[in-house]
Symmetry: C3
Subunit: 434 residues, 3 copies
């Protein structure tokens, strides 16, 4: 967890951004999301009240590369009743109690038979674990250790009132148009039920990010997509093959709200602009962070960074999945995430987007020696805006991000200095990096 | 020395391999080997009882690049007798007492004159040092400090009953044919007399390695050569110029039996497949080890890695030559090497050979996203066999060894996983690395 | 500061070289140098008694890239007199008291008005700071804190009897011709008044270096230039555009006499021969040192390494400017520099010049295996002169400096060994690096 000493100078503004994300996360937290179904639609419709989200429905049976959209799954009710008719395990109280994609079942089961279907967490006894049975014809319940231990009656009535019928996989997308059609893609997954950090937090942050990005003119076109993990990216990629070649940068966003420090997992390319911008912004922010190499595991970079696509997409998390005790349990609730954590993720992402959006390459029009800054009134701020660095390295081979890295100064300062030099005629833009 | 905690899981099998090498080392330890002569022939004939070794005889006067095969040297007897006729220094008791390649001499010498010919070890007083006088017309004896100090008589009778006459340089070679004529060369030197680690150990390990390699079908053709240092490689290279372009990997093997940790000296190329395979196997083995850069010193990589050849050959030792007190003294005897040390060297070499033999490059036939492993029954073992890594990096630019390095998993596991993927049609082999 | 234990083996010779530089520094220390003026001329004329220095005069108004040579500045007198007519601040006592390039002024000022023109050092109260007002129409005095605090009279008489009239910028140059016209440029700045380390020290060392370089036949042509900072290099480059393409190596020299360890700032190229030679010599010398990456700040590498020139010039200092308390104050006097410090800088520079002068690439004429050194009488010194390294890496791709780096041996030893091998016919020179 980051300490008071590493908080933001403008902590109030950060908290305010985080509060907006928190409110959205709180609103959509209760819905029973899964790979498909009404819970996802409820979530996306809630987002539509905040951002201009288009909702896409992809029919069951649609193929996407090696995969096929399954039947749509919905839950009317699910419970285990004891001999006295009490709902001792009840989906209505916590949607994690039902294993995701459980097939319908009704009947009375002997205790021993029932227990085969009641799962607990191996290490966190007080929490209900999160489980699903995608692509398997089975049903099950999840419970705390105590709930399972208290199943002492001889037999129980089981109700899994679900439906698995042809329907749709649902995803949402916001497009924030920029001056060019070069795309930065932000992807966050929507398939987890009531889990706050994984991933109500990512949904909330991505929604506020979409709103913030639209607030000023941008070079890049941003696409923020909300869809189910694994299959979602493949369905989206399959439906957007014309867009794929224009994706220059991307972020998979998850676990965005706990108080741990930021984690960035590099794209498969390892040194793509998004990787360098993220490393630069995290370093300049002066708060603790961790950067890891790509590995074909974790979130949806597994699909975006598969060798056929190999997109320049990294993964942004706070504490990585599986490395906090609450992961995939009922303890990952709305008390586990905070406006401060969500806000820190927000400003990091905005900083990275600004960096990628404003990176460009200039040439020094006066490359023989240092230009005489004094006679142009530029001497005063030259050092604080890194003008010496920008003039020296604007040789056509170094972009502003390259220069900010060398100078070990914030990109924003370098960019402001560069703009003053450009207006004085000392720099001429030659290329955009995008 | 490696600790109990880092020993092998299958320590008994390792000890058994080491025991076979130890027995061979013990058998050939007593022979008076040198650059040429009967001691080498005895050694190679002993090996012929274990492996299908071809013995080659190269006449004195044969040139090999800048060098010429010298006269053959043999010893009938050598001693220093005191005034009472006692052999106070006696080649029959320890062949290190006679300086190798000593020219014949018989006569009675005053003490002071004799002492000029009696060498001791500078730092190990109790041991007889090993010395030779190749390409010099001289003779000499080696002794312990005490033996030399006790030479107090006025004069001594000296007998160096050696012969230096046209004969042959002798080396042996085993060829283990593979499915291709790409060669892996293993070289170990045979020119040291009764020194156990340097290099009865290498001779023993190389002989057992040859036997083990022949036990299953191999991709590479292995050539295991037993010859004298420095001149031996040049004679072999000169006689095998047609083979040289096919040498893809190689190891110079020496000091293979002490209990120190493994040392690998990289080839001059520095990042050849053999260098990478060795680094990978040593790292995955989980025992302490040291890797050093190439230097034009040490064993016969000096010849194989000279700029005209620049072969991809590294050097495998346990404790490096010169870095143990017993080095080149009578204290390097059969108690200094152990089956456990020899066995650890053996399994390391076998692991490296298996890695080089099985390395290959595949392409993922389903590169857009992750393939659906569940529907192919591959999901269960996918993680333990690194299938995610193999699928992601099988893009035609990464071999299985590259992938094992990235995944930080044993090559063998990656190779098993790859084979399952290949059988499911998810991988297609495109090239062999050899 | 370096310790006795890291001093030179030939400390007396080093001190003697340092003493020569110290004497020159002491001689020119008192002169009132600035960007232009008589102080610079006095300095250069003093040097002419030691070295064959050509003095160049460049008229006011001459343009050099983005800059223009300003009016020439000279001082007849300058003081502040109190009510009793005492010179309480007096240029005659210390030329740092007058802000460099102060415009003429005479008059009586109220105390408060005067104090706006009297500058003190922010952190070193007892020292007079060094200031200038280039390209500004202003005047000022510098004083200790105490001197300023004692200005308690109601009003003071101020005299700044300077002249700013069309004249010249003056610089000096020594050319030490070599066998080729490939140039190594040594630049040191001459525009600071009575400051010993910055930069009477550099002037002294550069002068003795010029004398030493001329003492033996050289491959490179050396140009040692003494001129004002910032504008000086641009004036020189502008006047020597035909020479620029022949500048293969260069050093900007300053702060050459304190007792701190050596600092080297790499050229903008980062891995130019001068960067590698300097790193090699500093490492082999075995004394503490620091190497830093290029940054567009500090001394005149800012001009030489601007992107239009991008010359392979690094910067040699002892303690870097701004990192010692005496920097740019009257405390940087002749007690702050020592013959030992100056001598250490001298021998480092001579070592680097010798390395660059003698670096070349050979090919091994006998590349198949090691040549038989014994039969050529080369075996004895082979190890101490790194002959194995030189033979192995003389493959046309490694120069002697490359080899010395790999062998981790002094360049001089490698060069001596290479010369013996060349005379034996085992090496053939193919290219000069210059």
């Amino acid at each position: 967890m980051y300490k008071q000493s590493t908080m933001h100078k403008n902590q109030e503004a950060v908290d305010e951004l985080g509060r907006r994300a928190y409110d959205i996360a709180q609103e959509i937290y209760p819905f029973c999301r899964s790979l498909t179904g009404e819970g996802v639609r409820q979530t996306l419709k809630a987002l539509q009240r905040h951002i201009p989200l288009a909702i896409h429905e992809v029919p069951s049976g649609t193929t996407a590369y090696d995969w096929t959209v399954p039947l749509e799954w919905n839950v009317r009710d699910a419970y285990i009743k004891d001999a006295q008719g009490r709902r001792v395990i009840d989906f209505q109280r916590c949607n994690l109690h039902l294993v995701g994609y459980s097939v319908p079942f009704k009947g009375t089961l002997k205790r021993e038979e029932l227990l085969k279907h009641v799962h607990v967490h191996p290490t966190v006894p007080d929490a209900v674990p999160y489980r699903h049975s995608y692509y398997q014809d089975s049903w099950g319940f999840c419970a705390t250790h105590r709930q399972r231990e208290e199943l002492l009656d001889e037999q129980y009535e089981v109700c899994v009132d679900t439906s698995l019928v042809p329907g749709h996989l649902t995803y949402g997308e916001v497009i924030v148009p920029g001056r060019t059609d070069a795309v930065m893609l932000v992807w966050t997954h929507t398939c987890h039920p009531s889990l706050a950090n994984d991933n109500a937090s990512g949904i909330g942050v991505a929604a506020v990010l979409a709103a913030c990005l639209g607030a000023k003119s941008r070079h890049l076109t941003y696409r923020i997509v909300f869809g189910p993990a694994t299959l979602g990216p493949l369905v989206w990629l399959s439906a957007n093959e014309a867009v794929v070649p224009r994706i220059q940068h991307g972020i998979v966003l998850a676990c965005a709200g706990d108080l741990g420090s930021m984690t960035y997992v590099r794209s498969r390319r390892g040194n793509a602009p998004v990787d360098r911008a993220m490393a630069h912004c995290l370093k300049q922010a002066g708060r603790p962070y961790v950067i890891r190499d790509f590995a074909p595991e974790g979130y949806d970079q597994r699909q975006f960074c598969s060798p056929g696509f190999d997109l320049a997409m990294g993964c942004v998390m706070r504490t990585p999945y599986g490395e906090y005790a609450q992961y995939h349990t009922s303890a990952d609730d709305m008390t586990f995430i905070t406006p401060a954590g969500l806000g820190d993720t927000m400003v990091t992402l905005l900083d990275v987007c600004d960096t990628l959006d404003n990176d460009r390459t200039y040439v020094n029009t006066n490359p023989y020696g240092e230009p005489h800054l004094g006679k142009r009134g530029l001497y005063q701020d030259a050092a604080s805006l890194g003008m010496g660095w920008t003039l020296n390295y604007s040789d056509g081979r170094h972009s502003l991000l390259d220069i900010a890295e060398r100078a070990n100064m914030p990109f924003a300062a370098i960019a402001v200095g560069a703009e003053r030099l450009r207006m004085s005629g000392l720099l001429r833009e030659i290329t955009r990096n995008n």
